[in-house]
């Protein structure tokens, strides 16, 4: 036996490491994701991401400024920012109209402004087959805390997962770790939206509930993370099976994550 081990020690060592990794994965299925070394890795990566993104963005912006008139460009940027805020306010107002008196709580979103949100720049984006996250250039120094909702002018982006003083990691809606309570805007039916990497799936929707392709899903506020009434996703496919008590509903996020450059973190 000792001779066998000595002879094949390299193979056994590799097999041992693979076994450890496999055990690690299966242990997390039971106990949830291990938060091992997350902050140091985020600190190092966000430091370099800031430098790289900053350098490229400044190069891009220098080139743009040479190509266009400086004043027009700046004015355009201000108008874009203003437009984003107005679009967000408009979305909230529309939702408030629909919900009417029954949802008076949602009126607080009319006051959504700089004091209740922090605007952050996306400095890193990792959308891979195993997860979907972004890194933003604002962190605990700017009042950002774990599990705060992150939105864009189109709707919900995700929630804050890991925070450092100057940066934070945000889990996108499509990440398998992401779940949020939603409501069908048309008929107020409720469900739980889960990330499925390329899109999302609406869970626990009874077989008898009327849900159609094109229905807009908005946050219901029941999860305590996302405020009520913000656009989340659009239903793209509904499948009903006789044998199942629930429908299979596939929805696509309203936010185009690949084009996102700035986001708002809701601090209240």
């Amino acid at each position: 036996m000792p001779g066998f081990i000595a002879k094949h020690r390299k193979i056994l060592f590799i097999l041992f490491l693979f076994t450890i990794l496999f055990w690690l994965v299966t242990a997390q299925v039971k106990n949830g994701r291990f938060l091992f070394m997350e902050k140091p890795v985020l600190a190092i990566s966000s430091f370099f991401e800031r430098i790289i993104t900053g350098t490229f963005r400044s190069m891009e912006s220098t080139a743009n400024r040479y190509m266009f008139l400086v004043r027009t460009h700046r004015e355009n940027e201000l108008l874009k920012e203003e437009n984003s805020r107005l679009m967000l306010e408009n979305a909230v107002m529309n939702e408030l109209l629909i919900e009417n008196e029954r949802l008076r709580d949602a009126l607080k979103f009319k006051q959504l402004n700089a004091s209740t949100s922090v605007m952050a720049q996306v400095i890193g984006k990792e959308i891979s087959p195993i997860s979907a996250t972004i890194t933003i250039n604002k962190g605990s120094d700017h009042g950002i805390r774990k599990d705060m909702a992150v939105i864009s002018s189109s709707g919900i982006v995700g929630r804050v997962q890991t925070i450092l003083p100057g940066s934070a990691k945000v889990v996108l809606l499509t990440d398998p770790a992401s779940t949020l309570a939603v409501r069908v805007q048309r008929n107020r039916e409720e469900g739980l939206l889960e990330g499925k990497l390329v899109n999302c799936a609406l869970k626990y929707v009874s077989y008898y509930v009327d849900i159609q392709r094109g229905d807009l899903l908005v946050t219901s506020g029941l999860d305590g993370i996302y405020p009520k009434g913000l656009s989340v996703a659009t239903v793209v496919k509904v499948t009903k099976r006789e044998a199942s008590a629930f429908q299979t509903v596939v929805a696509e996020p309203v936010v185009r994550f690949s084009r996102m450059e700035e986001v708002l973190v809701l601090t209240k």
Partner: protein, 170 residues
């Protein structure tokens, strides 16, 4: 040289992947630089070293993402080991045709990851992920591989490494 490559791989791979490669992304798809570098390292090193480098890179990528720690560690370990075993059979390491093998590796690794996810989360849109993400990314990684293999051939990195190892032996 080797320490420099490992330093780049371990410390810069997450920020490079998450920021620099975004500027190269086409329709949201970007090449997998970590996989391409690991494949090259695998071709040049012994199985144990390649496996360890693969596992370490994978675990770092797992920590940097929001997924369960160990998935990429496991698959990248296999990639490193396979590339190393393949390296002993490959005649010309700098040949751009290795990029095709790199594409296949990317594809196989993607399928392995999807199977893992299927196991973990139950329902995963397998075909959709394969068509919309894994196949395009593998091809893009293969193209990046062509560039890297070309760079290696131009700079004669392999010759440099061999000369260094001979000098060390004496």
């Amino acid at each position: 040289m080797k320490a420099g490559v490992y330093f780049t791989l371990f410390f810069l791979i997450i920020p490079l992947q998450a920021s620099l490669l975004n500027f190269l992304s086409i329709a949201g798809i970007k090449p997998d630089l970590a996989l391409a570098l690991l494949f090259i390292i695998g071709l040049l090193t012994k199985p144990v070293e390649a496996t360890l480098v693969g596992m370490a890179t994978g675990v770092l990528l797992d920590i940097g993402s929001a997924s369960h720690i160990g998935i990429m560690g496991f698959t990248r370990g296999i990639v490193g080991l396979s590339a190393s075993l393949l390296g002993s059979k490959v005649l010309n390491i700098t040949s751009p045709s290795n990029a095709i093998v790199l594409t296949v590796f990317g594809l196989l690794e993607g399928i392995c990851v999807l199977l893992f996810l299927q196991l973990l989360y139950g329902f995963v849109p397998f075909v959709s992920l394969l068509a919309r993400h894994i196949i395009p990314q593998s091809i893009y990684t293969g193209i990046l591989g062509v560039v890297l293999f070309r760079l290696i051939a131009i700079r004669d990195v392999i010759g440099f490494l061999k000369r260094r190892s001979i000098q060390k032996e004496f």
